[in-house]
């Protein structure tokens, strides 16, 4: 299975899980009871202040015409990796630093050509968390992103046409984190299993899709760049991840 297939699979899983996210919470919360140890008195402890690593899928819906050559459905599925450190808390409120990496590809036929897009996004953001329950926190996050976009069009010439660029942007999301498994004891140092879901908007500055050949020597001289307009990987996004927290 290639990276492309994995990211597509994860994208599909994310989409499928989206409506079930909260509906499944009650069952998950009940499941937590079995392995949970004795409850502790006073505070959320490392239910709240922890280090968490995450893996999941991010799905972004990109309506801009610049994305059309690379996708038949305006959807960019991505593998999403993240790590967070909740460094401050007061009552139900806590604050974490989150670093993320998203990777996704999309490809489609472009009339007789084949077009593909490779997106790698790095993000860093503060995340506010509010525990409405011991095992459920609402989250909100806004932060900058740096995205590497690599587009290529394979056409009739001897060399693929490429365009790559690094673009700044931001992600703004709200969501929820549900502790699926873990000891109720807030001082337990055992890992906890989390399911996170969030939605929002991701914006990336536009990249002009003026393609140039990868190997200029194998295409006709004075080739006029293939211009497919501007690509902005921007639009509503949805992310579903599973995570393990430690402390």
């Amino acid at each position: 299975m290639t990276r492309k297939h994995w990211s597509r699979l994860l994208g599909g899983v994310a989409c499928a899980l989206a409506p079930l996210l909260v509906a499944g919470h009650a069952t998950a919360a009940e499941a937590d009871v079995a392995p949970a140890g004795p409850s502790t008195e006073g505070g959320l402890g490392n239910h709240q202040r922890n280090v968490r690593v995450e893996i999941g899928a991010r799905t972004q819906f990109i309506k801009g015409s610049g994305f059309d050559p690379f996708s038949t459905d305006d959807v960019l599925p991505q593998l999403s990796l993240g790590a967070s450190f909740a460094f401050w808390s007061q009552n139900e409120l806590s604050l974490a630093a989150v670093a993320g990496f998203d990777y996704g590809t999309s490809s489609a036929s472009l009339r007789s050509d084949k077009a593909s897009l490779d997106v790698r996004r790095f993000s860093l953001a503060p995340e506010a968390r509010y525990h409405v329950l011991r095992i459920l926190a609402l989250t909100a996050k806004v932060g900058p992103t740096l995205t590497r976009e690599a587009a290529d069009v394979s056409g009739p010439l001897g060399s693929p046409m490429l365009k790559t660029g690094w673009k700044f942007g931001f992600d703004a999301t709200v969501g929820a984190a549900l502790e699926l498994w873990g000891y109720a004891n807030s001082n337990s140092h055992k890992p906890r299993l989390w399911l996170m879901g969030e939605g929002g908007y991701g914006w990336t500055s536009a990249m002009k899709l003026a393609f140039k050949p990868e190997d200029a020597g194998s295409v006709p001289q004075r080739l006029s760049p293939l211009d497919l307009g501007d690509l902005s990987v921007s639009g509503p996004l949805f992310r579903v991840t599973a995570g393990l927290s430690f402390w």
Binding site: F61, D73, S109, P156
Partner: protein, 551 residues
């Protein structure tokens, strides 16, 4: 718990919203591979060959059949390229230009069968072939048709050849094109009376003088057993049907405006497999139904004629119908007044004749004709003025070493400087083809050898021609000086044409078109040259043109 359920509903609602946002998709055109449109290559002089591409005065038009659009390639400046897409309708049946190459005509059949009123109807569209392409006319048709005839003078179009469960081949649609911008086209439907014959060919005449009436143009419909003659000044009037002898099929019709005081306007009809020539005189009206009458006169020329044309043997008079009879290696000059045919022996079995009088600036009043043919290496200039009495002295023959298959006129609509030149294209022998540039004024011919069997395309400017094959090389030939220049592209060529840029006629771009294989389909690319001073080292290459203009 209530708060939790509210949150759940909110997230579910958001997910539904996001999914619906992703259903927009992209232009459906991106999902359709490009493949060029093809046609039956019936005219050897058509540089398009079997490809649905047309060179125009200010653009190159290439059909995109899968998208039902035409891509009009124009040039904002030398070597620059712009693509404009214009809809042409579903199921294109004909893709033609006007004789001056200033208009593009597209006949489409629409959705067939047309079950819903919203289904696209058959249409005839007219496009501006200049440097600002746009649709000029869109005529909706009642039924789908397959064939389109273009009036060489650009006034009329003829749509025919309907195809249905029951169809009438004698049903014609005459479209009179508007004279100016905004002037709409008018449509006249004609159903010709028939005695069993179907239309074979059509001849739009020039303006012919008619005794007692204003000059008018005629449409001669050649049918299997007769001719139907329509008065284009009164297209609603009933046609005149002229029966042909022994139900012979017509092969060709020529015409002449007549000569005041000598003879009325004339039509000459060549018959298939018949040694007779039918000479039709246009006389004054004999009934209220028509503005003129037609009187036939059958003349035997003693052998099967290969070509007819009207010629004048003296200034302001001496009109004769010349019939080439290759089997007798002679021409017959038929006096339309008496019907007497005078034989003129020829040097060779010429099969074709082209009157070139108007192309020579110094006119003596007598006609000069060019004789040539695919059966002889000889061409001849036939000075009609000194024919009578001394027929041999009237013909100057030249052995040019090739059998001439085609004679190309130099376009003179924009510049008539080289109207006195003709391009004689030889029939190909193996992979080689030779062509001549003929200077009629000086009666000189300039042989040009080419290594491969090339297609010729004359520039609408009348200043040069392009010779190209299906390889990477092509040639520009300017007429003054007569200088060929070899040019090369890095991809195989299917068509070459030069046209005015958007900056005006003084700047021209030459476009070498490439159709390249691409993932099981094709792709369009072009190499742009300076149209006046092309240089292989100064080009610009444009690829994936089939993507241009899709929104």
């Amino acid at each position: 718990m209530t708060r939790l359920l509210s949150s759940a509903r909110a997230v579910c609602g958001l997910s539904v919203l996001l999914f619906s946002a992703g259903c927009g998709g992209r232009p459906a055109e991106f999902d359709v591979g490009y493949d060029p449109g093809h046609q039956q290559a019936t005219d050897p002089a058509d540089p398009s060959g079997n490809l649905q591409v047309r060179g125009l005065t200010g653009s190159v038009a290439l059909l995109d059949p899968a998208l039902n659009e035409v891509m009009m390639f124009t040039s904002p400046a030398v070597r620059e390229l712009r693509t404009t897409r214009l809809p042409v309708g579903l199921n294109v049946a004909e893709f033609k230009t006007s004789a001056k190459r200033d208009k593009l005509f597209v006949l489409s059949r629409g959705v067939t069968p047309r079950y819903r009123s919203t289904d696209e109807p058959p249409q005839l569209r007219v496009f501006d072939g200049g440097s600002a392409p746009k649709e000029l006319e869109n005529v909706e048709l009642q039924d789908p048709y397959n064939q389109l005839e273009v009036d060489p003078q650009g006034e009329w179009l003829l749509v025919h050849g309907s195809e249905g469960l029951v169809s009438n081949p004698n049903e014609l649609l005459l479209v009179h094109l508007g004279a100016g911008a905004g002037a709409g086209a008018t449509l006249t439907s004609k159903t010709l009376g028939s005695y069993g014959g179907k239309p074979l060919r059509f001849t739009f005449t020039g303006a012919l003088s008619v005794p007692g009436a204003a000059p008018r143009r005629l449409l001669v419909v050649q049918r299997e057993k007769d001719l139907a003659i329509l008065d284009l000044s009164q297209p609603e009037d009933p046609e005149i049907t002229v029966a042909l002898p022994q139900d012979a099929k017509p092969l060709d019709v020529v015409y002449h405006d007549g000569i005041d005081g000598e003879v009325s306007s004339l039509l000459g009809v060549q018959l298939d497999g018949d040694t007779n020539v039918d000479l039709l005189t246009i006389n004054e009206a004999e009934s209220a139904d028509h503005a003129f009458s037609v009187h036939p006169n059958l003349v035997d020329v003693g052998g099967l004629p290969s070509k007819l044309d009207f010629v004048q043997t003296r200034k302001d008079g001496g009109l004769r119908l010349a019939a080439l009879v290759p089997t007798k290696q002679a021409a017959k000059l038929i006096d339309p007044s008496s019907g007497v045919a005078q034989e003129v022996p020829l040097h060779a079995a010429f099969t074709k004749i082209r009157r070139i009088t108007n192309d020579i600036s110094e006119k003596s009043g007598e006609d000069i004709a060019l004789l040539y043919g695919e059966a002889t290496n000889t061409i001849a200039f036939w000075r009609l003025g000194i024919t009578t009495g001394t027929p041999y002295h009237s013909i100057e023959a030249y052995d040019i070493g090739i059998k001439v298959g085609q004679v190309f006129d130099i376009p003179s609509d924009q510049d008539a400087t080289f109207a006195d030149r003709k391009i004689l294209s030889g029939t190909s022998v193996g992979n080689t083809l030779q062509f001549y540039v003929l200077d009629l004024t000086q009666q000189k011919s300039f042989p040009l050898d080419v290594l491969k069997n090339l297609t010729l395309n004359l520039s609408p400017s009348g200043q040069q021609l392009w010779a190209f094959g299906n390889d990477r090389g092509f040639a520009q030939l300017t007429f003054d000086p007569l200088q060929p220049a070899s040019l090369y592209t890095q991809e195989p060529i299917v068509f070459v044409h030069d046209f005015a840029t958007e900056r005006g006629e003084d700047e021209r771009s030459a476009l070498a078109l490439h159709i390249l294989p691409n993932h099981g389909h094709s792709s369009v690319a072009a190499t742009l040259f300076d149209g006046k001073n092309p240089d292989t080292a100064q080009t610009k290459f444009y690829s994936e043109l089939e993507l241009e203009g899709i929104k």
